[in-house]
Symmetry: D2
Subunit: 109 residues, 4 copies
């Protein structure tokens, strides 16, 4: 049963995707929007690949290992960018991205 095995990773993916969507929306309301372009760009990409990985986990896909490897890299990049900004939504997003990257590591190769 895929959901039992993958439940923690799916939860981490969903939390990360939601944190990225929130960070995107909150960045768009910041006064220093010009400094947030890379953050928004990575948030959009990170949210989308986390949702894809969650979907593949639900379907116990044969492509999970390859996708998880890439998802982990995207999460790490997004976390590094978000961590550079003091906004609470960026700090929270960095944490969710790091947690998702760690969750991806437990998946079998």
């Amino acid at each position: 049963m895929s959901q039992a095995l993958y439940r923690d990773v799916i939860d981490a993916c969903n939390r990360c995707a939601s944190a990225c969507d929130h960070c995107t929306a909150a960045c768009l309301e910041e006064d220093n929007l010009a400094m947030m372009a890379t953050c928004i760009r990575l948030n959009i990409q990170c949210a989308a690949i986390c949702r894809l990985l969650a979907l593949y986990l639900h379907h116990d896909s044969q492509f999970i290992a390859a996708l998880a490897k890439l998802c982990r890299t995207v999460c790490q990049n997004c976390a590094e960018e978000c961590a550079q900004h003091e906004h609470a939504h960026c700090q929270a997003c960095a944490e969710a991205c790091q947690a998702c990257a760690r969750a991806c590591e437990v998946l079998p190769d």
Copy 2:
């Protein structure tokens, strides 16, 4: 700040979308797949509109009220269909859909 105000509804949407995706994947592995077509069809539609509503809530969109009304209807329809099947994933999905439908009701018109 939209996330504080809408956090519970966003969580309900995400849980419902994940339950629907899981139910779709699990239905596709059932022996009586021919009986699950309507369930799968509604799961796919319900997962997608719940994710859209979560996105609109993150952005504090002007279209939340109209979308929440439709999302609630889709959740109710999906819950009614899932509740008719004995599979554990269908019963769990019915509960997540009902919870999301109730969460949508608290949003202002």
Copy 3:
């Protein structure tokens, strides 16, 4: 057969969603990013609801009429915002949004 009946609307939805995604990405590279926040916000919402409507059309959903009405409104709002900006990607996006809004009108109530 839903695809034959709805093919033109699905195509308009897909073209609009792609134009919105492109406009979002291109806005994030503009020098006057601070002026593009509303445009990006609406692009994100418009792309997502157009994809949802295309999905519902593929499934010949019972919720098409209600969703198409909302999708049309979102497309019109996004078109009005994009039309105010001189960037080629904004002008192209405004046209794709207007075309999608018109396509939604042909759907039965």
Copy 4:
């Protein structure tokens, strides 16, 4: 400008995603649904990764090469499965998947 460079690949991704969504919906209405489970499962995965690649192409992402490699594999698997079924929607989907797999090959490593 990413859209000019990647336009053909984005179009192939969008056409493939739409063909997969249509094939999923049409499979769910077939009499021999029990034989279509693998087809539906791959359609769902293929549609989602094609949309992700289109999004990454719009954003001229640093992760395009890695994602395109995986997307190509998923498209090829979906094409092989769809090609085994006589339904017109399966044959059309197989062609769209093959076209998208070929489009992915032109992207730089």
